[in-house]
C-alpha cells in the first residue's frame, strides 16, 4: 500500500505547528466567510490568495498556503449550514437544500440538534470523500501521466460540455456565459505567439483579466446587490449547542446510516463530474425523501432531511479537488480558484504533481483529514459566536465586505484598475444571476481558458490541423464522444420528452 506510506509522510508535513495553526485560522476565517452574505468559498479564497504570494515563496510555503486556503474552503462549507438553519438564508448555494428541514427544526427550538446533525454529517461526507481521494487520486494521476495535448483538450472539452449537459440553467445561457469566460481569458498576450489580443491599445489589459478580480466581483459584489433586494434585516433563531444536545443527536444519527451512504455516493460522483456541490445536495435530498420511511414528513423539520444534503454537499465539495490535483481540472468554482493559486505559486497542476511535488500533494491530502476534524471542533464549540456575526446590522457589514473585496481586488496586481473592474463584474454578476446565466462555467473558463486553448493548438500542430486527432485512439475518442453527447444532451432529452408527451 504505497498510498498509506505516502499519506503518513503527508501527515508529517501537515502536522507541523505552523500548518496546524494555519488550519485553525483557515477554518475560522472560512466559517466567517461562509456565514457572511456576499462572501463565500470562491471569493473568500480569491481575496486571501494574493496575501499568500509571499508565503508560497518560502521552502514548504506552497504547502502551507494551500493548507490555509483549502481550510478556508472547508470552513465555508461548514459555515453555509449555520445561516441556513438559523436564519433560513443559505450562506452558500449548496446549503439551500439544508434550509428545507433545518429552518423548521430551528423554529421548533431544535436548532442545536439541527446544527449538530448538519456539522456531523458534513464531516462524515467530507471524510469519506477524502478517503476516496487518498486511494483514487494516485491511480487517476498515474493514468493521466500518459496524456498528451489531445487527451488534455478532450478532458477540458468533457468538463465544459458536462456543464451544458448537467446545469439546470438554460443550455444556451450556460454556453454564452462559458464563452464569455474563454473570451476574458484570451484577453492579453497570446501564450503561444506573444501577439496581443483583445486589448484595443489599453495598457491595463496587457496582462489580461485576472480571474481573482472576476470572482470577487461576480460572487462578492453581485451577491451583496442580490441580498439588498431582500431588504436590510436578518431575523434568526438563537443558537445554543451544549454537549448534552450534541451527544443526544450523535446517538440518533447512526439510524440514518443508509441515507449517509447514499448521499456520500451522490456527492462524490457529482463532485468529480463538474456538477458540483449544489446539485449534489438537491439530488441527495430528493433521493432521501423518496427512500426514507418518513419521506412524507420531509420539509417539516426532520433531522434526516438535514443529514442528506449536508453529507452530499461536503462529499461533493471535497471530491471536487480530486480532478483538480490529478488532472488540473477543478470540479467547482472554489476548486478553480485554488487551482489558479497553484499556477500563481509556480506549480503546474496535473498528474506530474504526484511525481514532482510529493510533499505538496500528500501534505494537502493529509490536511484534508485534519482540516475537517479542526472544522468540526471549531463549529461545534463556536456556533453562537458565528451566529452573532449575522446580528451585526447590514448597514455596517455590507460596506465593510465591499471594502474588503476592493482591497482584495487591488492586491491581486497592485492595480486600482482592478477595483473598477470589480465593480463592473459585480453589476454583471447581479444581472447574470437574475437572468439565470450560471457563473460557475464562466469562472472555470477564465481559469482554464489559456490551458484549454494551448492544449488545442498543440494538438492541432501534432495533427497538422486535422480535427480527427480528437478521435485518434480509444481513450481520446471516448472522451470526445462523451463530451459531444453531453453537449447535445439538453436537445436529446427535450426531444425524448416531446416524443413521450405525444405517446401519452
Amino acid at each position: 500500500m504505497e498510498e498509506i506510506s505516502s499519506l503518513i509522510h503527508g501527515f508529517g508535513v501537515a502536522l507541523s505547528p505552523t500548518n496546524v495553526a494555519l488550519m485553525f485560522v483557515g477554518v475560522i476565517l472560512g466559517v466567517i466567510i461562509g456565514v457572511l452574505p456576499g462572501l463565500g468559498g470562491a471569493n473568500g479564497v480569491a481575496i486571501l490568495l494574493p496575501l499568500t504570494f509571499g508565503m508560497a515563496q518560502t521552502p514548504g510555503g506552497a504547502t502551507s498556503a494551500i493548507i490555509l486556503l483549502s481550510c478556508i474552503y472547508w470552513g465555508a462549507l461548514f459555515g453555509g449550514a449555520i445561516t441556513s438553519i438559523l436564519f433560513n438564508i443559505p450562506g452558500e448555494p449548496w446549503s439551500v437544500a439544508t434550509t428545507f428541514d433545518g429552518y423548521p427544526l430551528a423554529q421548533q427550538g431544535k436548532a442545536g440538534q439541527a446544527l449538530t446533525a448538519a456539522f456531523t454529517s458534513s464531516f462524515i461526507g467530507a471524510l469519506l470523500a477524502v478517503v476516496m481521494i487518498t486511494f483514487l487520486s494516485p491511480v487517476v494521476a498515474k493514468f493521466a501521466l500518459a496524456f498528451g495535448p489531445p487527451e488534455f483538450f478532450a478532458v477540458y472539452l468533457l468538463t465544459f460540455c458536462a456543464f451544458v449537459g448537467t446545469s439546470k440553467e438554460p443550455p444556451f445561457k450556460t454556453l454564452a456565459a462559458m464563452m464569455l469566460g474563454f473570451a476574458l481569458a484570451a484577453v492579453g498576450t497570446d501564450t503561444v505567439t506573444g501577439t496581443l489580443r483583445l486589448t484595443f491599445g489599453s495598457t491595463h489589459l496587457l496582462t489580461g483579466f485576472d480571474f481573482l478580480v472576476a470572482v470577487i466581483g461576480l460572487f462578492g459584489i453581485g451577491e451583496i446587490l442580490l441580498t439588498l433586494e431582500e431588504g436590510l434585516a436578518f431575523r434568526g433563531a438563537s443558537a445554543k449547542i451544549n454537549s448534552k444536545v450534541v451527544l443526544e443527536t450523535w446517538r440518533e444519527l447512526p439510524r440514518y446510516w443508509l441515507t449517509s451512504v447514499r448521499s456520500t455516493l451522490v456527492g462524490c460522483f457529482m463532485g468529480i463530474v463538474p456538477g458540483g456541490a449544489t446539485p449534489a445536495s438537491f439530488m441527495s435530498y430528493g433521493v432521501a425523501r423518496r427512500f426514507s420511511p418518513d419521506g412524507a414528513k420531509f420539509g417539516t423539520g426532520k433531522v434526516e432531511g438535514v443529514v442528506a444534503p449536508e453529507t452530499a454537499a461536503h462529499a461533493a465539495g471535497t471530491s471536487a479537488l480530486l480532478p483538480m490535483i490529478t488532472l488540473g481540472v477543478p470540479g467547482s468554482p472554489t476548486a478553480a480558484v485554488l487551482l489558479g493559486g497553484l499556477m500563481i505559486w509556480g506549480l503546474q497542476p496535473g498528474p506530474l504533481l504526484f511525481v514532482e511535488q510529493k510533499d505538496f500533494v500528500w501534505g494537502l491530502i493529509a490536511s484534508m483529514y485534519l482540516g475537517n476534524i479542526a472544522g468540526l471542533i471549531v463549529v461545534l464549540t463556536c456556533v453562537p459566536l458565528f451566529a452573532a456575526i449575522l446580528r451585526i446590522p447590514f448597514s455596517i457589514i455590507a460596506p465593510v465586505i465591499i471594502v474588503i473585496c476592493a482591497i482584495g481586488s487591488f492586491t491581486v496586481k497592485n492595480a486600482i484598475f482592478d477595483v473598477w473592474m470589480m465593480v463592473v463584474f459585480g453589476v454583471l454578476g447581479y444581472l447574470f444571476k437574475k437572468t439565470q446565466y450560471p457563473l460557475a462555467p464562466l469562472v472555470l473558463a477564465i481559469v482554464l481558458g489559456d490551458n484549454a486553448e494551448s492544449a488545442f493548438r498543440q494538438a492541432m500542430l501534432m495533427s497538422q490541423g486535422d480535427l480527427g486527432i480528437l478521435f485518434a485512439n480509444a481513450l481520446v475518442g471516448t472522451m470526445t464522444t462523451l463530451a459531444l453527447a453531453l453537449l447535445g444532451w439538453p436537445m436529446i432529452s427535450a426531444l425524448l420528452g416531446k416524443l413521450r408527451g405525444k405517446q401519452g
Binding site: P50, L51, G54, P170, F172, K173, L175, A176, M179, L180, F182, A183, A186, D190, V192, T193, T195, R197, L198, F200, I221, I224, L225, L228, E229, L232, P393, F394, S395, I396, A398, P399, V400, I402, V403, A406, I407, F410, T411, N414, I416, V419, W420, M422, V423, G426, V427, Y430, L431, F432, K434, T435, Y437, E453, F456, R457, Q458, M460, L461, G465
Partner: protein, 171 residues
Amino acid sequence: MTDGPEGEGRAAFGQKSAELAVAAFFFVIGAVVIADSLRLGTGWQEVHGPRPGYFPFYLGLIMCAASLINAARALLAKRAEDKAFVEVGQLRLVLTVLVPTAVYAGLVSWIGIYVASFLYIALFMRWLGKYPWWKAAAVPGCLIVVFFVVFENWFKVSLPKGPLENLLGLG
C-alpha cells in the same frame, strides 16, 4: 411602463427587457471578439499552427449564436411570464449601494483606499443605517486602523495612499 400604480412594488424593468439587454450584451462582446480575431487571422500558419485569432473567432461565433437564441427565447416567452425583473423599491436599494460603490472605486486613486473606505463606510452607516455621527465615524475609524496594521505591517502589502497619508508621513 410609465402608467400603472405608483409605488415601491411596481416593476422597474420587466424580465423580458432584462433578458434582451443581457443577450445584447453577449452579442456585442461576441462581435468584438470576432472582429479582433479577424484582424489577428483565424487560419493556419506554418510552425505556429492555428493563428492567435483561431480559438477566439469560434468562441465569438458561438457567443453570438447563443445570444441570438437566448434573445429569441425571451421574445417568444409568454406575456404572463414577463414578471418584474426588479421592483422600483428594490432597484432604489440596489442603486443606493451601487452608486456610492462606483464613486468609492473612483475615489481610491485620488485619496487612497484608507480615506475612501472611511468615508464610504461612514456615509453608508449614516444614510442607510441612520447611526449617529459619532458611531458612523468611530466604527470605520477603528476598522481602517486595523486594516492598515494588518496589510501594511503584517502582510507587507502596500495599499493605495493619498494626500492624507503623505501628510502624516505614512505614505
